[in-house]
């Protein structure tokens, strides 16, 4: 290193390292807070492929609400690709299902309903394909054994915690028989 370090190098270095550590703590805190303050909803997936685990430590999830009929769309103009949308969910049996999709976050909702944010992945004539960024489940060790034992494709019930500020994360998942 030919150039000498700047005068207040040590102070800047401390700041930079502290910022990195704070960032990691903030990510962890966001995770905790989403569980602590969030409302848990259960979503049902389409059968998942345990072979995903051969290539990585996560499985790709495709929810029943990943594909919603265009009739649920509440606005006059069809959404663009990658547009953010707000999906209203309502309990239906063991899992929540989508009832309406908005372009703006709806304010007044019945107490049994909840909003999940998503992004339009693709639109077809009859349906909208929505991505929630909940499509990857990093499978804990115990569960991956269970998945592998079942071998063939099975649907899953996924518990998702939705924080009041809109962030959502998977908290638990169970493999359906």
């Amino acid at each position: 290193m030919a150039t000498p370090l700047p005068q207040n190098h040590r102070r800047w270095m401390l700041l930079l390292v502290a910022a990195q550590m704070l960032f990691l703590l903030a990510v962890a805190a966001a995770g905790y807070a989403t569980t602590a303050y969030g409302r848990v909803v259960t979503l049902r997936t389409l059968p998942i492929d345990p072979r995903d685990l051969l290539y990585g430590d996560y499985v790709r999830l495709n929810y029943t609400i990943s594909q919603v009929p265009t009739s649920l769309w509440q606005e006059s103009v069809l959404p663009r690709r990658r547009q953010a949308v707000y999906v209203v969910l309502r309990p239906a049996g063991e899992a929540y299902e989508a009832v309406r999709v908005y372009a703006q976050e709806p304010t007044e909702l019945p107490t049994d309903q909840i909003v999940l944010r998503g992004w339009i992945e693709d639109r077809y004539r009859r349906s909208l394909h929505i991505r929630y960024n909940l499509e990857r489940y990093y499978v804990p060790e115990g569960k991956s054994k269970e998945l592998e034992r079942k071998g063939r494709k099975h649907p899953m019930l996924v518990h998702v915690s939705i924080a009041p500020w809109g962030q959502a994360r998977i908290t638990d998942a169970q493999v359906l028989p």
Partner: protein, 409 residues
């Protein structure tokens, strides 16, 4: 001159009476031996201990409570930065920078591991953008070439992950990388860093073109913008290094068109709206010309011959021939300029490219019409003759340059 060289050679100089023993000592004094703060064995030993700790943690990672995992990541991060700083202060630069680099890698790994722990990955791109911001900060703080290269690579990885896995292009990452690292390179011109930065930015431009699904030739507007930055740089070797990747990309693209252009099946991904494309490229060309004029290097404008949009011609033979004309125009002027400047490196480069172009042209234009053995015979003779002629010219140029330099020395 290295100390080792002096140590082995200087006794002979003393023997021959070129320098005295005292002068030998003074010369040696100018090159103090490197501070070997750490022997090899302790390093290997600590590496093994570190590896065993790492494998212990990795094997039990899933079973550890979350706060402990977080604590391990944070202390490893802080530990390697502290150790790096410690060794840097003791003057052990390479080990110090290595440890700081390790800290940077640990930061990226921690972002991914913590996000996985809370199933947050894929939520958005911020996490990984923070990685490239931290890398840039370290580059500025330590003014280290190794960290600069790491930063370029990290932002390439971040952008690749964004487009590949998350299906989003992070304009923030691209702009941040271009401006902060570009500015760093601008103030500290360096050939190697210029080359690395240029390749990194080309990668980002390529990802953007792919992400936007626009015609691939738009890539060259971005590439030539990088090239133009090299024109404005006052440090010529650094500027040249920044310019060579875009020029290499343009050359390879034209060569590809010349070889495969006849198929015509993909020509529809080559043609952006003519006026918009020409206007954008023309604007960059003007910027480049202004810089070349200012720096008194207008001759270098021949690089732009490679950007002639021959791909607007209909697919098939016309397209291949247009590509060949562009290639010949470029390599021809490159050779001519190299002979004029009597620059041996560029004479060699020009010769190689000219022969390559001729080989492609010959292959393209005669394969269909000729008997195969005659094709190879004539091709061989053509190439041999061409290389003999070019070698002779090169030798003459070099001899001329030496004779003109002699009177001066």
């Amino acid at each position: 001159m290295s100390r080792k060289f002096l140590e082995t050679e200087s006794p002979t100089w003393v023997e021959k009476g070129i320098i005295t023993a005292e002068q030998q000592q003074r010369l040696l004094g100018l090159y103090p031996p490197d501070e070997k703060a750490i022997g090899l064995l302790p390093i290997l030993g600590s590496l093994l201990v570190g590896l065993s700790a790492l494998s212990l943690v990795a094997a039990n990672w899933q079973g550890l409570p979350e706060f402990l995992r977080l604590a391990i990541l944070l202390s490893a991060l802080a530990g390697s930065y502290t150790a790096g700083e410690h060794f840097l202060r003791r003057g052990n630069t390479s080990l110090g920078i290595g440890l700081v680099g390790l800290g940077l890698i640990l930061f990226g790994a921690s972002i991914i591991l913590v996000s996985q722990m809370y199933q947050l990955i894929g939520y958005d791109v911020t996490g990984l953008v923070a990685w490239s911001v931290a890398a840039t900060g370290l580059t500025y703080l330590y003014r280290s070439r190794a960290l600069f290269i790491m930063t370029v690579v990290i932002s390439c990885i971040v952008q690749g992950y964004n487009t590949g896995q998350l299906g989003a292009f992070s304009y923030a990452t691209a702009a941040f990388t271009a401006f902060t690292l570009g500015y760093y390179w601008w103030r500290n011109p360096d050939a190697l860093l210029g080359m690395v930065l240029s390749v990194g930015l080309l990668w980002q431009a390529g990802l953007l073109v792919n992400y936007l699904h626009i015609k691939i030739t738009w890539f060259f507007v971005g590439a030539m913008l990088i090239y133009t930055l090299g024109d404005w740089q006052t440090d010529r070797p650094a500027g040249r290094a920044l310019q060579s990747p875009p020029i290499a990309a343009a050359f390879l693209f034209m060569l590809g068109l010349a070889v495969f252009g006849e198929a015509g099946s993909y020509t529809d991904i080559l043609r952006p709206p003519l006026l918009a494309y020409l206007a954008a490229l023309g604007a960059v060309f003007a910027l480049s010309l202004v810089a070349k004029r200012k720096r008194g290097r207008l001759g270098g404008a021949t690089d732009w011959l490679l950007l002639l949009p021959g791909f607007y011609l209909p697919g098939g033979l016309p397209l291949a021939i247009a590509a060949l004309v562009v290639l010949y125009a470029y390599t021809g002027t490159l050779l001519w300029r190299a002979h004029q400047e009597q620059n041996p490196d560029r004479v060699t480069l020009g010769t190689v490219l000219f022969i390559l172009t001729t080989a492609v042209a010959y292959f393209k234009l005669t394969w269909g019409f000729m008997d195969k053995s005659l094709f190879f015979l004539l091709g061989g003779v053509l190439l041999l003759g061409l290389s003999w002629y070019l070698q002779r010219r090169a030798a003459r140029t070099l001899a001329a340059s030496e004779s003109t330099e002699k009177p001066r020395s």
